[in-house]
């Protein structure tokens, strides 16, 4: 084995690790310290150490509690919607139909556009266009401006997030389904397995790993939703669609509670990390390996 000198090691590793440390590591540790102080963000004003007060304050902060619960509710509905749709798309895109590649290309496209722009596109559709449609068809109980009704506005976020993510998650399911060996499917067909039997008994257990990845990706991106939230509803009407990430942003940059807002940001990190780790541990156990 070639011996690398310490000099070369430094030259290759140090530049990136230095930048990474100043952009990610230092702010992370500074953030933990900020979460224990009370500060309004003005450099000249004092930062007062308040111990765990910030963390205790969260529990009685009604706006924060409802925004966290809403985020959980939103995440739950969205991951079901995204994964059901994505799996259905993936099953269609792996049939022998000639149009399957064109379909895959088209279904994936929304993912590339980016949350902020998608939010603006749908703001027009779910707002003014829906209202106009309701007036024209008389179905005004379904077609009205969704964005001004608190319950429907959360659902509007689900619709847009699903539209954005389904094509992306589909790609991962496709990779999983294409990885199933032909012989397994053929053997099942010889044994007389129908469409549903093949799907549930053969395909699903063999793409367990894809389920892990897809759930992991959709949970973490839904839980951290910000851009779509900002452009589609802006948290409104009356903060009724403000999600966790936006609550942190508003607490820090609109209400100028830098210390308190940062303690929420640390709680956000802990919640995101726990969700991800728990989910990986649970689904890893269920995976089936082909020998």
């Amino acid at each position: 084995m070639r011996k690398t000198s310490a000099g070369w090691y430094m030259l290759f590793v140090f530049p990136l690790f230095f930048i990474f440390s100043t952009v990610v590591l230092a702010p992370f540790f500074m953030g933990i310290i900020y979460s224990f102080v009370s500060w309004d963000g003005l450099p000249l004003n004092p930062k007062t150490f308040t111990g765990f007060d910030n963390y205790l304050k969260m529990l009685s902060d009604a706006r924060f509690v409802s925004s966290s619960l809403r985020t959980a509710y939103f995440t739950l509905i969205s991951i079901v919607a995204i994964n059901v749709l994505a799996l259905a798309f993936a099953l269609v895109a792996t049939t022998s139909l000639k149009a399957r590649n064109v379909a895959r290309t088209m279904l994936f496209m929304p993912y590339l556009i980016g949350g902020l722009i998608l939010g603006y596109i749908w703001k027009f559709i779910l707002g003014d266009a829906f209202k106009a449609l309701g007036e024209a068809t008389g179905l005004s109980s379904i077609f009205f401006n969704w964005l001004i009704d608190p319950n429907f506005a959360v659902f509007a976020l689900v619709v847009v997030t699903t539209w954005q993510m389904a094509g992306y998650v589909m790609i991962i399911y496709i990779t999983g389904i294409q990885g199933i060996p032909e012989e397994v499917i053929e053997a099942a067909e010889v044994d007389g397995a129908g469409f549903w039997t093949k799907l549930i008994r053969i395909k699903f257990p063999l793409i367990m790993q894809s389920f892990t990845i897809c759930l992991f990706l959709s949970i973490s991106s839904c839980f951290k939703i910000f851009d779509v939230n900002l452009s589609l509803t802006g948290g409104g009407p009356y903060n009724s669609t403000e999600m966790f990430a936006m609550n942190i942003y508003n607490e820090i940059f609109s209400l100028n509670n830098y210390g308190y807002g940062q303690s929420k940001a640390i709680a956000f990190f802990l919640a995101a990390a726990c969700l991800t780790l728990a989910q990986v541990v649970i689904t890893k156990k269920k995976e089936v390996e082909i020998q």
Binding site: V13, F20, V24, T105, T175, Q262, F269
Partner: protein, 278 residues
């Protein structure tokens, strides 16, 4: 009979997909309409194609400047991420030591940290660097690029590291015996082999950096530095009621993305799939 059924299935699949992309059709057709036309029917094709709204939206968004800024930020950031992360990952993978392990684990573990956890302290640190150290970290394209390198490093190192472990060392060892330096070995022999990962990293980072809103919104203050998401957001703040002009602005912002997608479609889908599966 079977042929006919097959044709029907193909056609209905394409129609279904077109319906799925209906929102983009809505944006496109309404960007050409005048106000009366727009409210008469939202789904109808425009009576005439006028590019008037496009011209105005372009001017109001300072679109060409924003396009240039987005392009610069994306390309320079990715060039640095690819170069620095591949070098770093190769050295970490090829030098088995506790230090290498620890550095690698730190990179991987920080992938769990959401941006919102870091944004406030990061901005404090960067304005401190600007005020005390006189480094141009805030409100500059360079400062933004620096932060993207930091945020992009974990995933890039992770992807490169995983790939490097699967390639044999024999070529590198032969080159070392011939007296090649570590730098030469890496750039002449290893980097070309890493090409599939480089494509994956570049694709994933284009999607992320091109569309990113929050980080540039916190660092870039001057109008001249705005990237496309920033100029779209400020444009939308002013012209929400004038939907036809807003739609023209949205068409302008999504056109580069669609062109990029059509040009590099295969690489993008492959890159996204392999990036997610690892």
């Amino acid at each position: 009979m079977k042929k006919a059924l097959n044709a029907i299935a193909n056609v209905s699949l394409i129609i279904g997909c077109c319906l799925y992309l209906f929102p983009i059709y809505i944006v496109l057709v309404n960007s050409f309409k005048n106000r009366a036309e727009l409210y008469e029917s939202i789904t109808a094709l425009p009576a005439s194609f006028s590019f008037e709204h496009y011209a105005r939206a372009m001017e109001k968004m300072v679109f060409l400047d924003a396009l240039k800024n987005s392009f610069l930020v994306t390309v320079i950031s990715i060039a640095f991420i690819v170069a620095l992360a591949s070098m770093c990952a190769w050295m970490l993978a090829r030098t088995a030591s506790k230090l290498s392990n620890a550095i690698f684990m730190i990179f991987v573990a920080t992938m769990l940290i959401p941006f919102q956890t870091l944004m406030m302290p990061l901005m404090q640190e960067m304005s401190w660097a600007k005020n005390t150290l006189r480094l141009p970290m805030t409100d500059t394209i360079g400062g933004l690029v620096y932060m993207y390198i930091g945020f992009g490093s974990s995933m890039a190192v992770f992807l490169y590291h995983g790939f490097i472990k699967t390639i044999p060392k024999s070529l590198e060892e032969a080159a070392a015996i011939d007296g090649c330096t570590a730098f030469g070995i890496f750039w002449r022999i290893v980097f070309p082999i890493l090409q599939p990962v480089t494509v994956t990293v570049a694709i994933l980072d284009v999607i992320w950096i091109w569309n990113d809103y929050l980080l540039p919104s916190l660092t870039l203050i001057s109008k001249a530095n705005r990237t496309i998401p920033l100029s779209t957001a400020s444009f939308f703040g002013q012209f929400t009621i004038q939907w036809n002009m807003a739609m023209a602005g949205l068409m302008l912002t999504i056109t580069p993305v669609i062109v990029f997608y059509l040009l590099a479609q295969k690489h993008i889908i492959k890159g996204v799939a392999s990036g997610a599966v690892k």
